[in-house]
Symmetry: C2
Subunit: 67 residues, 2 copies
DNA sequence: GCTAAAAATGCATTATAATGCACTTTAAGC
DNA sequence: GCTTAAAGTGCATTATAATGCATTTTTAGC
């Protein structure tokens, strides 16, 4: 999975849950600027930032073997 | 998935493939010190660092919904 | 328990993620 | 096409990931 897929999944899920970036920032306790940077593809987030956001959105990462 | 699971998966897979940290560093073009920091749980790697390593190891991340 | 290879650690430097604040742009109703 | 909320951007600062080098510790064979 590359970063663009991650971004897409986060945005879609956030909209499904009717949460805006500011609310996601509050729920995750991650700075709004960081959320914005991530969703607009401007930064290379840390693993922790990613998992914290996914967690709040009810999503999670799994490791699989490539075929 | 939390960082410890990721570390465990990377170490196990690397050993299965009989690759040492130095070789993984060369294959991924990620600094050895970064590989060491990650595998010893001392840092919070970037998403790109994680996906690059997994990719070389024949692994990948998937997003799923938590149940 | 010696030896050699692999892994871990300490330290310093560089690059950049995270952050806040102010401002601009875009999207959605009306 | 106004208005307003949401999203995106520019800039400066702080925190820390990435890196290399030298050294120490651990692990695996013998």
């Amino acid at each position: 999975m590359h970063i663009q897929e991650l971004i897409k999944a986060i945005k879609e899920r956030r909209r499904t849950l009717k949460i805006n970036q500011k609310q996601l920032s509050e729920l995750t306790e991650i700075g709004l600027r960081t959320i914005k940077g991530l969703e607009s593809g401007k930064t290379n987030p840390t693993f922790k930032t990613v998992t914290t956001i996914l967690d709040v959105l009810g999503l999670q990462l799994k490791i699989t073997t490539k075929k």
